[in-house]
């Protein structure tokens, strides 16, 4: 269960799961949606695989990822998304004295 929490705590990985909800996609297709390097995306895919949230299948030279969520995991995904878990908190900038 801790692997699931770890996997869902990152917004990039949650976005990958949302994309896979539409249809299974190759690693390359998924990576096109993100500004990260290949190695970074591979690491994300590995975390999702370890948490058993995605299944992978080799088709020729490509690896195709497919969504593999239970209902509870889907609920956790929605919960984490709605709370914005993993997004950096933007601190309010203090107002300068005498401004305005």
């Amino acid at each position: 269960m801790s692997r699931v929490f770890k996997a869902l705590s990152d917004p990039t990985r949650r976005r990958v799961l949302q994309l896979l909800r539409e249809r299974p996609m190759s690693a390359g297709e998924l990576a096109e949606h993100f500004p990260h390097a290949k190695a970074t995306m591979s690491a994300h895919f590995a975390v999702l695989r370890e948490a058993d949230l995605v299944a992978d299948e080799r088709q020729g030279k490509s690896v195709i990822y497919r969504l593999r969520l239970s209902v509870l995991e889907d609920a956790l995904l929605g919960f984490a998304d709605s709370l914005g878990i993993g997004f950096p908190v933007i601190a309010e900038t203090p107002k300068e004295e005498g401004a305005g």
Binding site: R21, E22, R66, L69, V71, D74
Partner: protein, 211 residues
Amino acid sequence: MTRKTQLFVWSLIVAMALVALGILVWRADDFANFAGLTHRERIKLIGYTVALLFVPAWLALGTLATNWMFTRAMVAWPLADDQRRFAERSLIAAAIFSAGVQVWMAVAAVLGEPPGREFGVRLIEAIAGILFFITANFAAKTSPPQGWHDPGRWIRATLRTGWVGVAAGVVILVSAIAAPVGSVVWIVGGASGVYVLAGVLNHLGARRKSA
């Protein structure tokens, strides 16, 4: 289905059917003296008879349906291995649960009154709710049939059905604690019906080819 699973489930069905017939033979005198029974005694006798025969019949029907699904699917779309394993395990769990219910009803038929009646009914309902919850939760993780034309649509349909099943399990579990005992049959029947309907509708939708 594997031979092991078939052997296990059909053995349980046969044992349950024999228990039912044995109880009916044991209470043959009551059937012979049916007209002399009070109204309440007649209702109980009919109720136990129907229940004792219904449970193995229902399980047998479910097993035949599962087997048909496996063999038919093998012709059209071979089931994924995890889907096949999941279906077999769910059937085994249902068979064991049914056997437990049958034993409880058999004791009730022999004693004339279910042991710990209200507690027993609520316990059975709670276990049914938990089984619903677990089965529906993990069903959504199974793979689409091999070569399915739109795996994404299948996965979404299975997840939607899973949500309905989990909700049904929660309703059954909560009613096991809070609802009147007399409403058990309606609640379990209603929740099951909604789950089955959701499954059928969602997967009929999943069969539609994308434009």
